[in-house]
């Protein structure tokens, strides 16, 4: 038997099993419903505390708004000294971020009515757009030595923001289209290597290493949930661990750390260059450490007084830790965790695979960025520019983020319907 025949046979069996499983679930759910005492089955709708009809998932939406508000307050608190000293206006960043947040929320709610399935077909086109954007930034003049921004009027957008979305979208498209063939390397490893490889080359040319890392993790993540063989993941993971170990043993790791702007050496600088390079990370650590368990109190950060450069951007969470302490930081992280949890679980209930994969991918991306951001501000990852969703200042990325959340909300409309 050729592998081709084998595959079709396998798909057949899968279908049989799926139907059996669904049947089983349906029976179970109806039994539960009957047990609950309500004998009238009025609508073919799953019972929900929050959602009526084809509504959006309210808890998820609320979590987003809560994070947005907390993020806004903390960004303001972190940014006002620097805004005062450099812009002569303490509210400089707050005002702008507020405008973007309003636009973003509008976009989010608007997109929640958008039928995300329309993206299914145009996913390859979006990926193409992302490539075009990545090429475009390389042509455009560099800003601070890096090619990242595409200017649109007075505002700009980072090409990588489009790329991250495009990668998730494309692999959701690909994964749902070839869901049953994902165990084959040809449908998983191959597109993964090609798309990540080409994107990575363009990103490294910018250069934008942190986005390269995020794209890598997102690619693996999407292929993983789409059903790529665990074997490949295990091999890939083992290879990465082995490479790190090898570097560590040969001492190359320390060299690499030093080269990467003194990554991991913020507190043990040995020369002035290193001291300069690790200035931001070191002051981030000072801020975090100063917070202790309970923090200095909202607005009481000292490190934001020009010690920590750009406290409104990637390092906003260091100021959060200083002002709100470990308690505040953990509460905020738990809210993020709740968002990830809710986002992924609601996506799982989406009516189609594309929705499931897209929703999971977009939500996981947030969790991923939170983790990577904190690893950066705590000096466990090189300082390469990973913003904290909902917290870091930045108009285009906030709108992009809320738009993506709008898509998840759109997916959520199908998640709470009892599927036939």
């Amino acid at each position: 038997m050729t592998s081709y025949q084998e595959m079709f046979l396998k798909a057949d069996i899968n279908r049989i099993y799926d139907e059996k499983y669904r049947e089983n679930q349906r029976v179970k759910s109806q039994e539960r419903f009957v047990r609950s005492g309500n004998k009238k089955i009025k609508a073919k709708r799953k019972k929900s505390w929050f959602v009526k009809g084809m509504g959006i998932d309210l808890p998820f939406c609320l979590i987003i708004l809560v994070l947005l508000i907390i993020g806004m307050i903390m960004m303001f608190s972190a940014s006002y000294p620097v805004a005062y000293y450099t812009m002569d206006d303490s509210y400089y960043y707050l005002k702008r971020q507020l405008i973007f947040a309003v636009i973003g929320v509008a976009v989010m709610l608007g997109l929640s009515f958008f039928n995300y399935n329309k993206l299914h077909k145009i996913a390859p086109f979006v990926l193409g757009v992302s490539y075009a954007a990545l090429v475009l930034v390389l042509i455009l003049p560099a800003n601070n030595g890096v090619h990242r921004w595409i200017g649109i009027g007075t505002f700009g957008i980072q090409a990588s923001e489009i790329t991250k979305f495009a990668i998730v979208l494309f692999f959701a498209h690909w994964g749902s289209k070839y869901y049953n063939k994902m165990e084959l390397a040809k449908y998983s490893i191959l597109p993964g290597v090609i798309i990540f490889g080409t994107t990575a080359i363009l990103l490294i040319l910018e250069p934008h290493y942190s986005c390269t890392a995020i794209v890598f993790v997102l690619t693996v993540l999407m292929l993983f949930i789409s059903g790529m063989k665990m074997k490949y993941i295990a091999i890939g993971g083992a290879a990465i661990v082995a490479a790190i170990l090898l570097l560590w043993i040969t001492g190359g790791l320390t060299y690499a750390m030093t080269r990467m702007d003194g990554w991991g050496q913020a507190l043990i600088y040995t020369n002035e260059q290193m001291w300069q390079d690790t200035w931001q990370t070191r002051n981030s650590l000072y801020a975090i450490g100063s917070g202790g368990l309970w923090g200095l109190g909202l607005g009481q950060s000292r490190q934001k007084y020009l010690y920590l450069p750009e406290p409104q951007n990637d390092f906003v969470f260091a100021i959060v830790c200083e002002e709100l302490g470990l308690i505040g930081a953990v509460i905020i992280l738990l809210i993020f965790a709740l968002l990830v949890w809710r986002g992924i679980t609601l996506s799982l209930r989406a009516k189609d695979k594309f929705g499931k994969l897209l929703g999971i991918g977009l939500t996981a991306q947030i969790g991923l960025q939170v983790i990577l951001n904190i690893l950066v501000i705590t000096d466990w990852m090189p300082n390469t520019g990973i913003s904290l969703p909902f917290f870091s200042y930045g108009g285009s990325s906030l709108i992009m983020l809320l738009a993506q959340m709008g898509l998840v909300l759109s997916i959520s409309r199908t998640a709470n319907i009892e599927k036939q």
Binding site: G227, L285, Q303, C321, A364
Partner: protein
């Protein structure tokens, strides 16, 4: 085949949807448990375990520690006159790291250079540094400060940079008396640290403790909006009261300077005045001092010599010249004391009982000891037979060789140590030297020369301390210049206690020596230290120098004495190093200076003058104030003071007088009182007063209607040599003419 697949899937019980579900659960676990877990534990570690350390480091950089300089203590003379004081000044500090453009650098450099009177190019170079602290100029005064403040405002307004130019508190040391007591007081360096003299020796007392201001500041160095400030007040330095008396010091310096000029002294001179009982130094002069307010300025002549040198040698020469200028000759230089030392040798002999009034010594004009070449007496024909007192008054070297032989080598060394010559005196000044004794076992020849003060090099402070011991009943004291230290609130924190090291000779011997040395000043000649009305004990000395720099005959002329002889209070040593004038003898060079100083110092110390009848005729009295009194009253008052009175004019009240108030006129001199303007034009002619005895001078002056003030009259056996107003000149009646006297006979030494 299909069966196998079904079987396989049954085992794993995973359908495609379950696969997604399972993998999603795995993903959630990965993100939430592994990812968030790692992140939270990392944060917890940083905030709880490393928190204290990180917080310390953060606070360290947020708090700025500014040092406030403590005000250096004041140095007073014994009566509380300020000799050295610190006043507030400022230093201008630039933080060039704040510059944002080249244009700013050029402009600020230009402004600073013009305000601070600096070279623009140098200031511009400072603006190029990447630093927050570059000192542009130190110790600027308040008017310059005002201009800098204006510049600060201008920079702030123009460029919006606030901390570019800063003014920091500083202190400047002022010395109100310039070069007075320079070798004792010393001066401070640019960091307010003492470099010489008392400033150096008592630096730790004077310095005080700097204070600190700790403020929370942002990374640009401006204060944060929240309040965090902690001040540790600077504790100002302690103030010091010296034993030096500004009045006595001034008197000494005045006459020492004159002596230096009159005798063309090549290598400076020293005058030390000491309280014989306590060792307190009342005055300490190294003549040819330097301006403490400008201690790096060399005398013009020296500077010219250095400028003439090749450039590469100038720096070394300047350093050498400066250290020479700063050197406190009174304690750092050694010299052969010469005949002055005879008072020590004589004390030894008396204390050992090897001589008495009846012991006689024969001088043939020279004496041979062992196989050495003969040692000559200054009177080549010899003094013949002399008793002990005569030997001292004749300053006869052969007699002292014999006295030395009577004492013996062992005892001589014992007393040499006893009088403190073999150790530092321990005076509280830096740079004291040790004596130079014979570098070999002392021989009889050594003893012979050492008996009259040759071959043993000692410091001036050692000599005067020993003479104080001779005078005060035999007690060797430790000399000191700091009497008391008070803190900034004025509370006494330390009083110097008199330290008596030991008794070297008995009270009786001391009394005997006082008697002999007083006799010496009254009989040995006009310039042996005799001061009319006072009982002075003393001894002259002329010693050959150890090494000859200025010629084959380099001498040190010195005089050491004390007064009053019956109850000595103050001892004084005057010595000039290498006089090249008319005479190099101690009696000619140093005695007159000693006499001049003592004549002023003793009245100042309220030692009552007691004149003999003989002395009365040439002793000056101070004219009283008669203006404003009625003619009768004025006449009565002048007569009571012992003056004769001439009244000119017809008025009832005295309108002016000659001599003026407090002018010195001889006892019995003539005071002319004017009662109206009518006699203003009246003049008398100054007579020739040179070449007469004291009584003759007085008579001539009186006849001519002028007064003669007698100067330098050591005894009645003198002749007038000069007068300060030339003969034939027209002056107002009663004008005082100072007439200098000198002895015609060659003096013993």
């Amino acid at each position: 085949m299909a069966k196998n697949y079904i079987k396989y899937h049954k085992k794993s019980d995973v359908g495609p949807n379950q696969r997604l579900r399972r993998r999603t659960v795995l993903l959630i676990l990965l993100i939430l448990v592994a990812g968030f877990g790692a992140v939270i534990s990392r944060l917890a570690y940083l905030q709880l375990v490393d928190g204290t350390y990180l917080q310390e480091k953060a606070v360290e950089q947020q708090l700025t520690d500014t040092t406030i300089n403590a005000k250096r203590g004041t140095i007073y003379d014994t009566n509380g006159k300020v000799l050295a004081q610190s006043a507030s000044v400022w230093k201008v500090v630039l933080a060039p790291a704040y510059f944002t453009s080249e244009e700013q650098r050029v402009e600020v450099a230009k402004d600073l250079a013009s305000i601070l009177e600096l070279d623009e190019k140098n200031v511009y170079e400072k603006t190029q540094q990447k630093s927050y602290y570059v000192i542009v100029k130190r110790k600027i005064e308040s008017d310059t400060r005002e201009e800098i403040i204006k510049l600060q405002d201008k920079i702030e307004e123009k460029y919006g940079i606030s901390n570019l130019v800063q003014l920091l508190d500083d202190y400047k040391r002022y010395y109100p008396y310039n070069d007075l007591a320079s070798s004792v007081i010393g001066f401070t360096g640019s960091d307010d640290q003492g470099l010489e003299g008392v400033e150096y020796q008592y630096d730790s007392y004077l310095t005080g403790t700097p204070g600190r201001i700790i403020t929370a500041q942002n990374a640009n160095g401006t204060d944060m909006p929240f309040q965090y400030e902690q001040n540790v007040e600077a504790e100002d330095g302690n103030s010091i009261y010296l034993t030096i008396d500004e009045t006595i010091q001034s008197i000494c310096e005045k006459y020492m300077k004159q002596g230096l000029e009159d005798n063309a002294v090549k290598n400076r001179g020293v005058c030390i005045a000491m309280d014989v009982d306590t060792g307190a130094v009342l005055a300490c002069v190294t003549v040819g001092g330097y301006d403490l307010n400008n201690p790096y300025k060399l005398p013009e002549e020296t500077q010219k010599e250095i400028d003439a040198l090749p450039e590469d040698k100038q720096e070394a020469a300047t350093g050498e010249a400066l250290s020479q200028m700063w050197r406190n000759k009174a304690i750092s230089d050694t010299y052969y004391p010469g005949s002055v030392f005879k008072m020590v040798t004589a004390s030894m002999a008396l204390n050992e009982g090897v001589v008495d009034d009846n012991t006689t010594f024969f001088c043939s004009g020279s004496m041979t000891v062992a196989d050495a070449k003969p040692i000559h007496c200054h009177v080549t024909s010899g003094h013949g037979t002399q008793n002990f007192t005569q030997a001292i008054c004749n300053s006869c070297n052969p007699a002292f060789i014999q006295i030395g032989q009577l004492v013996g080598i062992d005892k001589y060394q014992q007393y040499y140590q006893g009088f403190g010559f073999s150790e530092k005196t321990g005076i509280d000044l830096p740079g004291e030297s040790e004596d130079i004794f014979f570098d070999h076992e002392m021989t009889s020849v050594d003893l012979a020369v050492a008996s009259f003060g040759q071959g043993i090099a000692i410091t001036p402070i050692q000599m005067i301390t020993a003479s104080a011991a001779v005078a005060n009943g035999g007690y060797l004291v430790q000399p000191y210049v700091v009497r008391q230290i008070v803190n900034s609130e004025g509370n006494v924190i330390q009083n110097t206690e008199n330290k008596i090291k030991r008794q070297v000779i008995s009270k009786e011997v001391s009394d005997k020596m006082n008697e002999i040395l007083e006799y010496n000043t009254t009989t040995a000649g006009a310039n042996s230290g005799y001061i009319a009305g006072y009982r002075v004990a003393g001894k002259t000395g002329t010693s050959e120098k150890l090494t000859s720099t200025y010629g084959s005959e380099d001498y040190i002329a010195s005089f050491c004495g004390y007064a009053p002889a019956d109850d000595p209070k103050i001892a004084m040593l005057v010595f000039f190093d290498t006089p090249t004038g008319a005479s190099y003898y101690g009696s000619q060079v140093s005695s007159p200076v000693f006499i001049n100083i003592m004549s002023e110092v003793l009245p100042y110390l309220q030692v009552q003058a007691e004149y003999t009848n003989d002395e009365m005729q040439y002793v000056d009295t101070v004219a009283g104030a008669y203006v404003g009194l009625s003619v009768n009253e004025a006449e009565q008052k002048a007569n009571e003071a012992g003056f004769t009175v001439t009244v000119k004019g017809e008025g009832e009240k005295v309108t002016s007088q000659i001599p003026g108030v407090s002018a010195k006129i001889p006892n019995g001199g003539n005071v002319v009182l004017y009662t109206d303007g009518s006699s203003d034009e009246e003049k008398v002619t100054v007579p020739d007063l040179v070449g007469y005895s004291i009584s003759e001078v007085n008579a001539i002056a009186s006849n001519s209607g002028v007064n003669a003030s007698i100067a330098n009259a050591g005894s009645s056996d003198v002749v007038s040599v000069s007068q300060d107003i030339e003969p034939g000149k027209e002056v107002k009646p009663g004008t005082v003419i100072t007439v200098k006297f000198a002895t015609s006979q060659t003096l013993n030494d």
